[in-house]
Symmetry: C2
Subunit: 469 residues, 2 copies
């Protein structure tokens, strides 16, 4: 069998490993698995394989490692940086059949799950036991928990509860060489050797394929309250964000959306809950949660009072579960709505929280200078701002030279503010060209060497995050 | 100059880098820096060097890297696993002159500090601004924040607030090859490349020398309440621990101590606050904190009621700051007291929280089987149990064969319960022989390869955590 190319012998071997019915080479399958939510990029794999177990994945990796065949792992296919795109062809390894929650351990407040479980399914399963798994990316209704591990996902709750990495205790991982390891232990504290768990979290499927995940859970807070506060300027809204934390409040969500984004999404879902009059430039969505309703009420009041210092308009308090759900639906669907109206790149900039006003000001100034329009929204409480750019006459693609230049300018601005390129989406395929803006060569060298330690033949999701020379 | 050995030429070069007055070869200095708090081990370095800046450390590393000279970094010297012991001689690099807090950023709730700042000094400095850095090892009055990073330290507050790794945003690190890098960015969310920050945290000074640390801070809770609950059996006390979390409470501390340990420490500090009558086998120290005193009072009452199900005796509520301080002093000095009365090994076992009763039962059973006496205390809420062993007729040292056998049995028990060797002390020099109990060969291979990527000539804290073949 020839090195690097898929042959009929390889296909036969793959079928022996996972069964004939889970190896796909038909046009529809390779096309479906050739794209994710990243721009309109399409890369056809040679074959799509759907294993069921870590042992099957181990056998696949051993085969591909021996013959130098590229392997691209894929979760729910909701990624925004191209991490699951099989840009080198080869094997697309879909994890969708590893979709069982294995145990909800109520004694230890832990869940053990396979990677192909949809995040929201997992969240609901633990909720039924009075437990809480906070990280909730906007795509939680379709993304996989395994993909969340790969990208170190965040979401609105991160501002109070942290991101995925803060919940991962232990991972079963199939290494590119086929060995199956557990990275750590199912414990809350661990100082036993290098933290391989944290190294795998956020490594975008380049260091191994996660096949079991142990997450810590916390008690579910009994109550939450939600408000929507309009602001006449984006800067004032973002200044208010920092002030809330400095006053000692830790909201369970602190989202910012420019009015342009809210207009588009309100229209898309035919909602009228968000005021969109001409005096409003942006809204903050602020949630508090906890176990004592009186305390939460007084927190909301205190926050509302504080917002007046930043010229907030009339604040809307969501009265019931339905209003809350509608507000959250709007927030969660902003990305999709804005994308469908011509802004196809969602950047994932992140800066220290108090630099948010400077970032927003800088984005608008860059837009003026380079003649593009930007719409901003995101997890303001974390300093994590999604920026979507549209410039007439050029395609909204990282592949376009002019767009690349604009994005380089944006990322240089972010770096100058103490921030970095990606807060929760990852680098994947389309952002690797910007890594040298935020890292020295020594950092990149270390990352390449770590990759080599895990994947000596560079077969697993190769060419993601960085290129190997 | 000869490879590997310190010569007068090397000493001259070191003096040129840091200044004559910061290079020490006198007997007192090499003896002082030849030990830490680990057993009674003593390894004399050839020379003690006290640089002031990252640039000086970079120059030292370049020199030592070129000539293959072992370098051992040292913080406060309070380590319990021998991480700072210069067991190969060479250069002992003391970080005590890098002792400035560089910035407390109240806008972003972050602190930037050098590694040689004493943890308690840092905590008090942020407290003055109404901010909170929770990780608080028992040695906080003398350990360095840099050492806490190296060992991923915990302490009593970890149960609610997490350990050191949960607060580190970004690190300036001098690599063994002399390059100076920042591992990440000063942001709360980061999905930009491999998590070098988390890889360095807990790497026990083997991957680089941390020269600047950016930590996130949180608002300081306004109130805390403390109780001491006696139990007639150690098992009942440890069962109560798990029940409290399952009932939805998240105490800010949840410590367990066997009566033997409390007797010794009470005598040492001449305190009478802890009841030590014959019906008591162990105590739980439980703290809750938050911003609403009424809520905390009712939490304490609810917890006290719950404890009755586990046959708790009369609960003592600390009435004022002085009583709280006395209780905490007792807890913090347990290790020192128990050590001084013949139990010189403090093991750092950690299991899933609900396995604590099984661990304690197992420790006692092992003691019976192998004829040793064990005393247990620690951070029960995290499943992190410190076990000190004494056996008549054998030295309390990891160097003793029989002790090694006993500890192997203990760690096998811990592993069988889903736990691991070290929750917060690290592996260092004295525990590396047990790593294969909890890790497969593939894990250890990856760790060695990562070490090699950072330190190709194996000069920095070599032979800690694992041996390089």
């Amino acid at each position: 069998m020839e090195r690097g190319k898929i042959t009929t012998e390889h296909l036969t071997a793959l079928k022996e490993i996972v069964g004939d019915e889970f190896v796909f080479v038909d046009a529809d399958s390779v096309k479906y698995y050739g794209h994710d939510e990243t721009e309109h990029l399409l890369y056809l794999p040679d074959v799509v394989v759907k294993p069921r177990t870590a042992e099957e994945i181990s056998a696949i990796m051993k085969l591909c490692n021996e013959y130098g065949i590229p392997v691209t792992p894929r979760g729910g296919g909701t990624g925004l940086s191209g991490g699951a795109l099989p840009h080198l062809g080869g094997v697309l390894l879909a994890t969708e059949r590893l979709n069982s929650i294995l145990e909800i351990d109520e004694r230890n407040l832990q869940i053990t799950t396979e990677p192909g479980v949809i995040t929201e399914v997992l969240q609901n399963a633990v909720k039924e036991k009075g437990l809480f798994y906070p990280p909730d990316p906007s795509s939680r209704g379709s993304c996989f928990i395994g993909g969340n591990i790969a990208e170190n996902s965040g979401g609105p709750k991160a501002v109070k509860y942290g991101v995925v990495k803060d919940y991962v205790l232990n991972l079963e991982v199939v290494l590119p060489t086929g060995e199956i390891i557990w990275t750590g232990a199912n414990v809350l504290k661990n100082s036993t050797g290098y933290n391989l768990t944290q190294l795998v979290v956020g490594s975008e499927g380049t260091l191994g394929i996660v096949t079991k995940i142990v997450l810590r859970l916390i008690p579910l807070p009994k109550y939450d309250l939600l408000m929507l506060a309009p602001f006449a300027s984006l800067e004032k809204a973002s200044e208010a964000v920092s002030a809330i934390f400095r006053a000692g409040f830790v909201p369970s969500a602190m989202e910012l959306a420019e009015i342009d984004a809210l207009k588009i999404v309100s229209k898309m879902v035919d909602s009228h809950v968000v005021p969109v009059n001409d005096d409003i430039a942006a809204h903050l969505i602020i949630e508090v949660d906890g176990n004592n309703l009186d305390v939460l009420m007084s927190e909301m009041e205190a926050i509302a009072t504080l917002l007046q210092d930043f010229e907030a308009g009339e604040i809307f308090f969501a009265d019931d579960a339905q209003q809350k759900a509608e507000l959250w639906k709007l927030r969660r669907r902003v990305a999709e709505a804005v994308k469908s109206s011509g802004y196809t790149i969602e950047e994932d900039t992140v800066v220290p929280r108090a630099e948010l006003p400077a970032l927003i000001k800088g984005v608008k100034a860059l837009g003026k200078k380079h003649d593009f329009h930007a719409v901003c929204y995101g997890h303001a409480g974390d300093g994590n701002l999604h920026v979507r750019i549209h410039k007439d006459g050029i395609p909204n693609s990282h592949g376009n030279d002019e767009m690349q230049f604009i994005l380089s300018e944006l990322f240089k601005l972010v770096y100058s503010l103490g921030g970095t390129i990606s807060g929760e989406h990852g680098i994947g395929l389309i952002q690797k060209g910007y890594m040298n803006i935020v890292f020295q060569e020594a950092n990149l060298r270390l990352m390449r060497e770590i990759k080599k330690a895990f994947d000596p033949n560079n077969i697993l999701n190769a060419g993601k995050i960085f290129d190997i020379a």
